[in-house]
């Protein structure tokens, strides 16, 4: 880019314009002229150039933004598969079509990845030549002055009795002192000049930002391939959780390159769970006190897990996600023998003060299977519409509404822990239960509600690449700030010997924030003339004072 300016004989108006283009740095795609080859290679080259133009990158960027929109409008499998199923039920006609287009998994769909990858390639294509150019520019001498300074956006001329050599030394020293990269030159015709440039950090920052963006993309990909995440729940004082695939509620989600063998061994017991609510039922705090051990036989440790305060276990983290109530049901046969005794986790309904539903399944021990649907109302109240509701999320007046079934649960089919299949069952009774009371079955068996505890829902997550992504973000942000606020600018000073002294020409060029630069330029030109001997009282009219540099309308430049 600066080669053009090096050719003094070509220093024309168009040339100073091209200097203006090149100094802007982050503006135009770098067009490197390569000899054209015929055939397929030429076509590929053409395609590659097209892909790596700024215009294509912009287009891809906007397509990516557009492509993300359906991901926020349709339920996504990754975040909420239950709502996807709900959508299937509600819109049976369109759902399969939307599914085929990947609308329920937008961010994992082929076309989203394609855009993502194209943008990445385009970015690499933009970056590689620019990294090379910037590396070269960083060690190169600042470009030589143009032949005509008056073509530059800023220029001024004055006379001095100092020698041309002194002028060049003074300008060189002055600019160096102000942290400019300055270079003294002697043109073939003997004219001494100083070329100086400042603000390389702008392009450095710009490149750092874009490289960081690539690193971030890579880190996100690593996390998606090597990470896992699963949800489990533990009842207060109940059975401890051990970190195995089977212990999770449903299959944990694994990245494509990992499986259950990557789970770090640990056990976790819930000692106590406290949910505190405000009088208006808004939740105030959730605290889970746990005892955990990194692997069987390892020493146990006690700790509290709260929202925003996860537990770190060997590269994975355990987060508190939520909580619910777990009534203890003791099932006895007609002789009074205990058939089943367990806490049953109930699922709190949204915005309903822990009004929860769930099922008790007793698949053995009695001559038939028992299934009971239970609605847990922590603080029973009757609504004006005749339906019961919970007036508080705390178990102040707990009640269970039940409907019990007998028959065949059909457990050979895969089922949710919160539901059962009624097809092989018949209703054996329904009613309201209070703590300590029992439901009687027709043959004399009974289901007693003995106790109620809370359970906590946790999520185990391992997301490798997180630290890399974070570092990339920090560096990218620093680069971004530099690329937006550092101004790249050039100043040239030329000293031509003339009768009775030297004619000093100062020229300046900046694409960014031309207004600020014109003030800086005037200050530097003024300081330079101050360091030089005043002009001899000449018969010629006084030269233009340096403090008043001629300036093009600042708005002509990029701000």
């Amino acid at each position: 880019m600066s080669e053009l300016t090096a050719k003094d004989d070509m220093a024309t108006a168009t040339e100073s314009l091209s200097t203006a283009e090149s100094v802007s740095g982050d503006v135009d795609e770098v067009v490197v002229d390569r000899p054209r080859k015929p055939g397929l290679p030429a076509l590929l080259l053409q395609g590659w150039r097209q892909l790596t133009t700024m215009r294509t990158a912009l287009l891809l960027l906007f397509l990516l933004a557009l492509a993300a929109i359906p991901g926020s409008l349709f339920p996504q499998r990754g975040t909420n598969s239950a709502r996807v199923n709900q959508y299937y039920d509600d819109h049976a006609a369109v759902a399969p079509w939307l599914d085929r287009l990947g609308m329920f998994d937008v961010f994992g769909s082929t076309w989203f990845y394609t855009l993502y990858a194209l943008l990445g390639v385009s970015l690499v294509g933009c970056l590689v030549p620019r990294l090379r150019l910037h590396a070269r520019a960083s060690v190169a001498r600042p470009p030589a002055p143009p032949r005509r300074f008056d073509r530059l956006p800023l220029s001024t001329t004055f006379r001095t009795t100092s020698s041309a050599d002194d002028v060049a030394s003074a300008a060189h020293g002055l600019l160096r002192g102000k942290q400019w990269r300055s270079d003294r030159r002697t043109a073939p015709d003997g004219v001494l000049s100083v070329a100086a440039e400042k603000g390389y950090l702008r392009e450095t920052g710009n490149l750092l930002f874009h490289v960081s963006l690539l690193v971030l993309l890579a880190a996100v990909a690593v996390g998606a391939l090597l990470g896992y995440s699963g949800i489990f729940s533990v009842v207060e004082g109940g059975r401890p959780f051990t970190n195995t695939v089977a212990a999770y509620d449903g299959e944990p989600t694994f990245g494509q390159w990992v499986d259950g063998s990557t789970l770090k061994p640990f056990t976790l017991k819930l000692d106590d769970f406290r949910a505190v609510y405000l009088p208006n039922t808004q939740p105030k705090s959730f605290d889970a006190d746990v005892t955990w051990a990194p692997g069987a036989g390892a020493p146990e440790r006690r700790r509290g897990i709260r929202v925003n305060h996860p537990l770190a276990v060997g590269g994975a983290k355990v987060y508190l996600l939520g909580s619910g109530f777990a009534p203890r049901f003791v099932v006895r046969d007609k002789t009074g023998r205990v058939v089943s005794d367990d806490f049953v986790r109930l699922l709190p309904q949204k915005n309903a003060n822990q009004y929860s539903i769930g099922v008790l399944k007793v698949p053995g021990g009695l001559p038939y299977d028992v299934g009971m649907r239970a609605v847990f109302v922590p603080t029973f109240a009757m609504g004006a519409d005749g339906f019961p509701y919970s007036s508080s999320p705390e178990a102040k007046a707990p009640v269970i509404l039940y409907r019990v079934f007998t028959g065949d649960l059909g457990l050979t089919r895969a089922q949710s822990v919160f539901d059962f299949d009624e097809r092989g069952m018949t209703v054996a009774g329904e009613g309201v239960l209070v703590p300590g009371k029992s439901v009687s079955l027709p043959d004399g068996a009974s289901i007693a509600w003995e106790d109620t505890r809370e359970y906590a829902v946790f999520q185990t997550t391992r997301n490798p690449g997180t630290r890399t992504a974070f570092v990339a973000c920090v560096l990218g942000l620093l680069g971004l700030i530099a690329s937006l606020f550092v101004r790249r600018r050039r100043i040239w000073v030329s000293a031509t010997a003339a009768s009775g002294g030297t004619v000093v020409e100062v020229g300046g060029l900046a694409r960014h924030d031309a207004e600020r630069f014109s003030a800086e330029f005037a200050a530097i030109a003024g300081e330079l003339s101050g360091r030089l001997a005043p002009p001899a009282p000449a018969p010629a009219p006084a030269p233009a004072p340096a403090q008043q540099p001629t300036a093009a309308e600042p708005s002509a430049g990029e701000s």
């Binding site: 135009d28 700024m54 933004a65 926020s72 929202v307 987060y319 974070f470 014109s518 093009a552 309308e553």
Partner: protein, 325 residues
């Protein structure tokens, strides 16, 4: 600690007074906008600076001093100045409203959409007033005040909630970092939005004038190029702040939910907004995309921001729905 009802009431009253001040100021700015230029309709011709044609500018163009360009004044100029005074008064009341709300609830005053809207508007007005101390941008007043009055009106009616403590999900020091940055950027983008709208209007006016008279005339209104520069500066300033806000949000999400990015609707729209503004910054320096196209992208960025903030909370359910109304 219980909510201080007296302070909460004071905050509500202050906000009401703020809206009235801003509304009056808006009318004042609009009046100056409409009638201010009558006085100098036969303004001098502007030096022509067409995009790219730098060599058509006389190289030794004398520097244009500000005093030489000062336009004649008329009654509307006085109205415009009064509008600034009323804006400052409203801004002081607005600050008072936000501070008393925080004191009433014993926490940061941005825990729900109502408070959040108010703070964004406060940032927008602050950014406008700050800009006014550096550049003569009074012409932007009406276009800044209009969304501010609308935003505060919406906050005071539809989004209004009583002061209370934070929900557990928000009860983290990250609310001071992530939310502050996002609100700051939003307020700054609001000013950029006003400037982009004005740019479009000025650009077509100048083009029409150029076609009709062959020369753009000076008016008390700014040149399209200078409004464009204000929009760019605001976006260039707001963009890193927004980026920081999104990154801080990712760090918070990692701490709270175990993943730094999960394509939750709020995250998705924050990403879209980021991409659109990044597109603006690139477009503004790409041949063929400067000017009107870039301004449209800037406006699209603000629309996306509004969706991120309002639509996602009100109509799309996701993890951020705890912030409620």
């Amino acid at each position: 600690m219980p909510v201080d009802i007296g302070l909460e009431q004071l905050s509500d009253n202050l906000l009401f007074a703020t809206v009235i001040c801003y509304a009056i100021a808006m009318v004042g700015y609009a009046a100056e906008f409409a009638f201010g230029h009558r006085a100098n309709i036969a303004g001098r011709a502007l030096p022509r600076i067409a995009g790219g044609a730098v060599d058509s500018v006389p190289a030794t163009l004398a520097p244009v001093s500000r005093s030489a360009r000062r336009t004649p004044e008329n009654w509307a100029t006085g109205v415009g100045r009064a509008a600034v005074a009323i804006t400052v008064l409203g801004w002081v009341l607005h600050d008072g409203s936000v501070v008393t709300r925080g004191l009433a609830a014993h926490r940061v005053p941005w825990g729900n959409m109502y408070e959040y809207s108010s703070v964004i508007c406060l940032v927008a007005v602050s950014a406008y007033l700050w800009l006014l101390t550096r550049e003569p941008v009074r012409y932007l007043g009406a276009l800044v005040m209009a969304p501010v009055v609308l935003g505060l009106g919406l906050a005071g009616t539809v989004l209004k909630v009583r002061a209370g403590p934070l929900v557990p999900a928000l009860d983290s020091y990250w609310i001071k970092i992530h939310t502050t940055a996002v609100m700051g950027a939003s307020g700054i983008f609001m000013v950029a939005f006003a400037a982009s709208l004005l740019y479009l209007a000025r650009e077509s006016a100048e083009r029409r004038q150029l076609e009709r008279d062959g020369v753009a005339r000076e008016s008390w209104l700014p040149s399209a190029a200078s409004v464009d520069r204000v929009a760019y500066r605001m976006i260039a300033f707001g963009f890193p702040v927004w980026t920081f806000g999104v990154v801080a949000g990712a760090v918070w999400a990692e701490a709270a939910w175990g993943r730094y990015w999960g394509w939750d609707p709020k995250e998705t729209w924050a990403f879209i907004t980021w991409v659109v503004y990044a597109g603006y910054l690139h477009a503004r320096s790409t041949a063929g995309w400067k000017g009107r196209k870039a301004a449209y992208i800037g406006i699209a960025g603000f629309v996306s921001l509004l969706i991120t903030f309002y639509a996602v909370n009100l109509w799309i359910t996701g993890l951020h729905s705890y912030a409620g109304v």
